[in-house]
């Protein structure tokens, strides 16, 4: 019976996510004045789909097939999240009156998929993740008060600069190593990844410098030197994923603001030379690259992670094994870097493709916000933040499916991780706030 319910749920999950996306499409088309649907109805259908997905998967996860009892702890997590989501659904429009409903729904759906997957993989982490979700929601709910008070974010640029430099230096001297990269700070029992926080601070600074209407060469050179310093220090902390994201974001900002093809060309050149040097200096990059080119050659060591990930993708195919039926725990660091493989395995490739499309929907709305914003600084800021998240998503999904070499970064809103979760919320909080400002008459 249990197996049967899992089997049926496999198709139900697809129904939920496809209906969700169908509503997304209707909303987008209506906003573009192509069709006429009631956006509110569509959004509330999405809300229902998320709740159905959530309850359905938690019922499967909380049921113990041997004792035939439901686990109360799991049901509590289920219930608490429904409260959180429902609350968010009603109160976020108070602080973000012009915020984009579709974006909120998409973000919370991703969070829920992450939570369900974590509950499946490691209930302890799911409980913590729920806590992070609450915290993230609270911050994002209250953020507009601070933002409305500051109003012009660019005026604090030196504060961002100083803070990010402090972060970098403290990690350099007091950082802990995890997964080959020295990018963790531990304060008593509390650990966090400063590079995640630097992301926002650095971009706030960079955009403040480069979004000025009339750029003189000196205005470009100074931020470039500082960016170079930040990126190099990340490289030496062996946090190459973050270094790459920073570099690409820097290039995007400078391309958008200067429109210079020459700078773009130099950037590509620098990145080629940089990767060549990094490849020759760092042993772990060599391992990553050879694991990417032919993971089967060294399946027991260097290629272990990626081959296990590919097994998760390939064994069950388009429809997946059904929730609880796969073996995602065989993949190393599945709760963080490889969570996408776990989703592919149990929910199937079609579901996974839908997740990529949900990310794309979010980035589409962000870009629309950037294009609509009449304030130059804010417009560039939104595109920079979007590109940052976009590239990070591409890096990690591309890595686990072996499209590109693996870099250990988190999948926004889905991977386990407090810092990553809160920072992602803050980033989209800023974007929604700008969206809200733009929407005001």
């Amino acid at each position: 019976m249990y197996e049967l319910i899992i089997l049926i749920s496999k198709y139900l999950f697809l129904f939920y996510i496809i209906t969700f996306m169908w509503q997304s499409l209707k909303i987008i088309l209506t906003q573009k004045n192509i069709t006429r649907s009631d956006i509110k109805t569509c959004a509330s259908r999405q809300y229902i789909m998320i709740i159905l997905f959530h309850v359905n998967s938690f019922l499967i996860l909380s049921f113990n097939n041997e004792t035939a009892y439901f686990d109360l702890n799991t049901l509590l997590v289920c219930f608490l999240w429904i409260i959180l989501f429902t609350l968010a659904n009603f109160v976020l429009k108070l602080t973000y009156p012009g915020g984009d409903k579709l974006m909120w729904n998409s973000i919370f759906f991703l969070c829920d998929i992450g939570l369900v997957t974590l509950q499946r993989l490691n209930p302890n982490l799911a409980h913590k993740q729920l806590l992070w979700l609450f915290l993230g929601f609270l911050i994002v709910f209250l953020m507009p008060f601070a933002l409305n008070f500051i109003k012009d974010l660019s005026k604090l640029k030196y504060l961002y600069l100083v803070l990010s430099l402090i972060m970098i230096l403290t990690t350099f001297f007091f950082g802990d190593t995890a997964g080959g990269a020295k990018n963790w700070l531990t304060i008593k029992n509390f650990t966090f990844q400063p590079s995640e926080l630097i992301k926002i601070l650095f971009i706030l600074y960079l955009v403040a410098e480069l979004a000025k209407p009339k750029l003189k060469p000196i205005n470009i050179i100074i931020p470039t030197i500082i960016s170079g310093f930040v990126i190099l220090s990340l490289v030496f902390q062996k946090d190459l994923g973050s270094a790459l994201i920073f570099f690409v974001t820097y290039m995007v900002v400078i391309y958008i603001t200067t429109s210079s093809n020459l700078i773009l060309f130099i950037g590509v050149l620098v990145s080629l030379i940089g990767s060549f040097i990094a490849y020759n200096i760092f042993e772990h990059i060599k391992i990553r690259i050879s694991a990417w080119i032919n993971p089967w050659a060294d399946i027991e060591h260097g290629g272990y992670q990626i081959t296990q990930s590919l097994f998760a993708l390939g064994t069950y195919g388009l429809l997946g094994s059904g929730l609880n039926n796969g073996m995602p725990s065989a993949i190393p660091v599945v709760e963080r870097d490889f969570i996408f493989s776990a989703i592919c395995e149990e929910f199937g490739i079609i579901f996974a493709i839908c997740i990529i499309l949900i990310f794309l929907t979010i980035f589409y709305i962000c870009m629309k916000t950037a294009l609509n914003s009449r304030n130059r600084y804010m417009s560039v800021l939104v595109s920079a933040l979007t590109c940052l998240m976009c590239f990070q998503t591409f890096l990690i999904i591309g890595g686990v499916i072996k499209l590109i070499p693996m870099t250990g970064v988190t999948l926004p809103f889905i991977s386990y991780g407090g810092t990553s979760m809160i920072i992602s919320f803050i980033i989209f909080g800023i974007i929604q706030w700008i969206c809200s400002l733009t929407a005001k008459p």
């Binding site: 049967l4 390939g314 595109s383």
Partner: protein, 461 residues
């Protein structure tokens, strides 16, 4: 500025589309990468379902999963006879167990089966069943005849490419795989896990002359009038080539040369070929090319480059040199002569049925390559019949049946010569192709009696 933003977003959209495209490509075309012994999932599924069965061409059970007292076991009813075809589990998987794993695990009508299992406590949903092309009686016979000789036998149906029998020795018992695993894995001298019939690569020796003769017939319009005076040995660009036992064959043409496997004759025509002729025939005969065979196999190799020295050319045209071929591939080449010059794709899965005997898939014969013209194939057949009637293969003669064959003695670095015999019968209407390879057996004649017996048995069925 906004234009640049649009460009950037367009670029990122492309990246995301690449992700989706790659995922789809991976699931459709690279699914087989999951069939790996390092993938722990493959065995877990077998515990929750009833893995499909494997049957021979007459519907006799070869492999099935039985559950007794809570423990699940895979039973093999002809363990040694079929070990290289069906393979083993659960110590990783090999053979059909690995290559057709998804078929055996695929639940037809899954929803219905799941509902059914609710009402019966003991049964599990059942996977699809595989029917192979091999007749277990013939397989048993071939296995028994090969006995404890290192080597391989392949029997094919030339018109379809059906594998009728495929045996390799040393073998192993898949029922005792877990107990004997370390010994089997570490036995580098005998490598019992290797399927010599499809994975073993050997110098073809004189059996390669079939191809050289075919090339001669098609490229030299005067081949019938060409003759050569064999003195038992000759020099070709300082390389001394001699016939087997330095036998002097005298003045002979192509047909007599093939009949007696005259090395100096074939060295002479090999030297006369225009550059690339032999290579193009080797490629037509699927050397260096994959042929998408269900089980593990190794590609045969032919490496006569444009810059090959005369010595290499001469050695290659008589089947020595660097050419390597698997017994399966030699059987395919022979089958192409038997099948009017057309090489069929070899296949071992006849059809697949669901648990309820609904047909799921049937293998259709497929043309792999046109090696020779029909005319050439006819000429070659006539010559190969003479090999068995008066030449090096007379031991293969069967009363009332006309057999076409070719012997081969393959010099090699591992010790005594390998012995080849490849044949098809009846020559006027070929029903079977038999290829025998015996490792380090001495000369070509050792393989002939074995082939003789197998042809006799196979035709009587």
């Amino acid at each position: 500025m906004k234009k640049n933003m649009k460009r950037v977003f367009f670029f990122y959209s492309l990246l995301f589309i690449a992700l989706i495209a790659h995922l789809i490509y991976f699931t459709i075309f690279e699914k087989d990468t999951s069939l790996n012994s390092y993938n722990p999932r493959l065995n877990v599924i077998d515990n929750s379902i009833q893995r499909g069965m494997i049957f021979d061409s007459n519907g006799i059970t070869l492999a099935e999963t039985v559950t007794s007292g809570g423990s699940i076991q895979r039973n093999y009813y002809y363990p040694e006879e079929f070990c290289h075809i069906i393979g083993y589990m659960p110590k990783g998987k090999s053979g059909l167990e690995a290559k057709s794993n998804f078929t055996l695990q695929k639940l037809d009508n899954e929803l219905y089966q799941r509902i059914q299992t609710i009402f019966s406590e003991t049964s599990k949903p059942r996977g699809n069943n595989i029917f192979i092309t091999i007749d277990s009686k013939l397989q048993q016979y071939v296995h028994e005849k090969l006995g404890k000789t290192k080597g391989a036998v392949v029997v094919l149906e030339p018109q379809t490419g059906k594998v009728l029998s495929m045996v390799s020795y040393p073998d192993f018992n898949p029922m005792k795989i877990e107990k004997n695993w370390d010994n089997l894995k570490n036995d580098k001298d005998n490598s019992p896990l290797l399927n010599r019939a499809a994975q073993g690569l050997y110098p073809p020796g004189s059996t390669f002359k079939i191809l050289t003769a075919g090339a001669e017939i098609e490229t030299n319009s005067n081949y019938e009038s060409f003759s050569y005076d064999c003195e038992g040995e000759d020099f070709f660009d300082q390389k001394k080539i001699h016939c087997f036992n330095s036998t002097v064959h005298g003045k002979i043409g192509l047909s007599e040369a093939l009949e007696n496997s005259c090395n100096t004759f074939f060295a002479t025509i090999g030297e006369k070929f225009e550059k690339g002729v032999l290579f193009s025939y080797a490629e037509k005969a699927m050397f260096n090319k994959p042929f998408d065979y269900t089980l593990e196999y190794n590609k045969s190799s032919f490496t006569l480059s444009e810059t090959a020295t005369p010595t290499e050319i001469v050695e290659t045209s008589i089947g020595q040199g660097k050419t390597l071929v698997s017994p399966l591939h030699m059987a395919m080449i022979t089958a192409s002569v038997a099948n009017k010059g057309i090489m069929m794709k070899p296949y071992i899965i006849d059809h697949i049925e669901s648990y309820s005997r609904n047909p799921i898939d049937t293998t259709e014969p497929e043309v792999l390559s046109e090696v020779f013209s029909e005319e050439t194939a006819k000429k070659l057949t006539e010559m190969m019949v003479k090999v068995v009637e008066n030449g090096t293969g007379t031991e293969a003669k069967i009363k009332g049946v006309s057999i076409a064959g070719k012997t081969g003695t393959a010099e090699n670095s591992s010790g005594k010569d390998h012995s080849w015999f490849t044949a098809f019968a009846p020559s006027e209407n070929p029903k079977i192709v038999v290829t025998v390879l015996l490792e380090n057996a001495g000369n070509g004649s050792k393989a002939i009696p074995l082939a003789h017996d197998i042809i006799k048995k196979a035709l009587n069925n």
